[in-house]
Every structure is written in structure tokens, then in C-alpha cells.
Subunit: 174 residues, 3 copies
Amino acid sequence: MSRDNPAAIAVELRLRIDELYAHYIACLDEARYDAWPGFFTEDCVYKVLPRENHDRKLPLATIAAESRGMLIDRVYGMQNTLFHQPYYQRHMVSGLFVRGVDYAGDAADTAGGRRLLTQANYAVFRTKQNALSEVFNVGRYIDIIVEREGRLLFAEKLCVFDSELIPNSLIYPI
Amino acid sequence: MSRDNPAAIAVELRLRIDELYAHYIACLDEARYDAWPGFFTEDCVYKVLPRENHDRKLPLATIAAESRGMLIDRVYGMQNTLFHQPYYQRHMVSGLFVRGVDYAGDAADTAGGRRLLTQANYAVFRTKQNALSEVFNVGRYIDIIVEREGRLLFAEKLCVFDSELIPNSLIYPI
Amino acid sequence: MSRDNPAAIAVELRLRIDELYAHYIACLDEARYDAWPGFFTEDCVYKVLPRENHDRKLPLATIAAESRGMLIDRVYGMQNTLFHQPYYQRHMVSGLFVRGVDYAGDAADTAGGRRLLTQANYAVFRTKQNALSEVFNVGRYIDIIVEREGRLLFAEKLCVFDSELIPNSLIYPI
């Protein structure tokens, strides 16, 4: 396994992974939140957590969900119960690469037999009403992608952000 | 048409689209403005408009041009008549994907027969003289690309930005 | 040589170049600085310099190294002697393209015979302890990549940044 091509996946699959991220951020930035849980497996893990906690393996996360159902609940909360000023998000993703490929024995977890371990940097800009766009949250995605019925889905998505100062204002998904 | 691969275009074409955007932003960020209209078809549409107006289908745009000739005029204005403090731009483009492929009947519009409908997020940083780099304008490109004589060109480019607070200071193309 | 495909390199090589940048920024952003010199050839050139100096061909650079050994020294300095407040970096790279391909006669410089001339925009966000993430340094990479023993390495990397106001606080590599 060389550093140049650690996972030796085919070009077409590599581009499909690119597109998964492109569609994911388009979904969020266009505020189509109802479609957001559809990017995840039913038994997914989704967490937004500060880098310090991730590096020290501390369990505390700003947002933590352990199923697609919890993501659906989160969307409901965002749209109906959480009190917040609305804002626009704009995601940039860069430096995407495949960390490795996993052949888990658990067939339920790995339709097709393969789990793609990916990583990418992200930056999210926030624009509040009548305000300038500003840097909101930067960090990296540490993800696991599986294929289910011909579609790539996130089995796990960790959003590990660099600054500790944003958590309470973090309403929409990263 | 799956979400993973909505337009089923060939890998080589996909990479050529990537390169089109790479050259486009390099042209702008190196301030080679005279070359900028060359990225567009003669009968192109180019608009920079706030997200609110786009979402509500309001016609008002901060910048609007309906031909390559108008882009050339814009460049002339930037360089000769518009009074402004010069600044550097630095573009980042992310999340590029092909929304679809169009087979327009109008041959004049579609040499090769095909129109590629693309979308991508962008972020532009501005650096004024003796100042720090700052977030200037973020949003998304909603574009239509055609092939003419072996080159990909923008038949339409909408730059839909998230904040309403920048228009009067927007001098150079996005 | 068309604008669409100036260097006519194969798809697989193009994706390997993408991955080189992805791994490069991951290395820096994860603060694995000891691994950073390994991205360069032994006789590499690495410079961080303001755009004004680059455009006017002035020699002054904020950071300049002319061998991998000097990069190793730089890492030692960062970690042991340079007095500074630590901060996190987060790189975004966008608009990567191959400017051209060089067939240098000097075999020592060109295992495989080929030098890939690349360019990309970058933006670096900085996060200090107990502070918000902020725009730190934006500019472009102007690089030369060679292949050595099956791995892509930087023979030259110029980090040409847009603002002149950051040099004395620039500790970690860009």
C-alpha cells in the first residue's frame, strides 16, 4: 500500500465518492434538511465533536446520533423546536482521500462487502440575515462509506472541528 | 438516474469540467481579466445575484450580462472607468457536480448536441493592500457548459451569493 | 495543447496528484510535522513568499529552504526553539491543474523522465486556543512534482500568498 494510492480503488468509485460529498454539501447548503438523513445508513453514527475531545478519545460530542432515526429527530428539532436565528451555510470540502478499505465480516454492515474509510477537510461559512459571510466551523470529516442497493451512504460520519467556541450556536448539520 | 451518478458522463469529461473551473479561477485570481470573456460563449448569460433573489425568482442581479461582448465591456469598465481600490481575489471551488445533461434541439446552442448542467460551491477571499485576507463572497455557481470546437465554455453562469451586504464593493468577476 | 487538457496526462496520474495534495494537507493539519519533509525530494526548493515579491521577481521570501535537510531543520526549530503560541491549521486546496509537463535532460532530477508542473489555490484557516477559527493565509501553490521510486514528491513548492501582513506569525508550513 503506497502513500500515493493507499486503497487502490477504481477511478469510477473514486469519482462517485467525490459526488457523494458534493451532493451532501449541496443538500445542506440548499437547506433541504429533510433529505439529509437519506445520506446515512439506518444504523449510522453521526457526531460533531471538537478536535481536542477526538484526539484525547473523550466521548463528549456537541451533536451525537446513533441511527438515521435520530437524524430525522434532529431535523424535526431544527425546524420546529430549537429556538434559533436562521442562517445560511456554505460548505467547502477539500483534500478528500480514501484512508483504507475494510472488509468487515458483518454482512449487515457491508452490503457488497466493503467499507470505504475516507477523510476530508471542510470549512463552513455562515451568513446571518443582514450580515457578512464569516468563517463558522472548520475541521475534518472522518467517515465510513458503504454501498447499499447501488448507492453510497455514510455508515459513520465524524465532524471533528478545530475551535471549541462554536458549539451552542451550531444548529444545522455540518 | 442514481444520485451517485446523475448524468453518467465519462471520466475524461468529468476531469475536463474540473479543469475548466480550475482555469477559470486561476484566470481571475491572477487578474488576467482580458482572458476572462474567453471562458464564455458569444451568447452567454452571466449573472451575480443574491440568493434571496434567486430563490424568489426576482430578476434583480448585482451584475448581469447577456453576451460575451457585455463581459468585454465589463472588463473595460473595471480597468478604465470604475473607480475602486484594487484588491486581490482568491477563489476556492468545491462540491462540483453535474446536475444533468441536456440535449437541446437548438443546434446553434449545442455544438456537439449536449449541454452540461453543473453546480459548485465557491468561496472568494479578498485581500486589500496592507490588509489581512478576508472572506469576501461565498455562494454557488449554477452553470451550463457547452463544447465549442473542442473547448468547454460557459453558456450560462449564475453566481448566487449568500450575503446581501457586498454588492456595491463587487468590482471583479466572481 | 488545448486549455481543457494542457498536459494530456492519464486519469490515474491525475488522481494520484490529487491524492498527493490531500495527504500533504492532512499531514500538516494533523500536525504530523516530522512526516512533512518526506513529501519533498532531497534537493527540493520550498518557499513561502508574498505575491508582490513573486510577481516582481524579488528574491525575498518569508520562508526559504533549498533541501529536504533544511525542511527537517525547520521542523526542529518549530518544535524546539521558535517561541510561539501553538495554533491549529486547516488547509483547503482548490483549482488544482497541471500547467505542463517537462522532460528535463537531467536524469538525477527526473526519475521517470518527467516533471509535472502544477498549480492550485489554497486557503489556510488558523484556530488559536480559546479562539474562533479565522482566515490565516490564502494564495496559490506553484509546484513541480517528480516521481521517485513510485512515489510523487515535490521537487519545488512555492506558496505565494496574497496578503503581506502575516509573515512574522507564520510558524508552521503552508
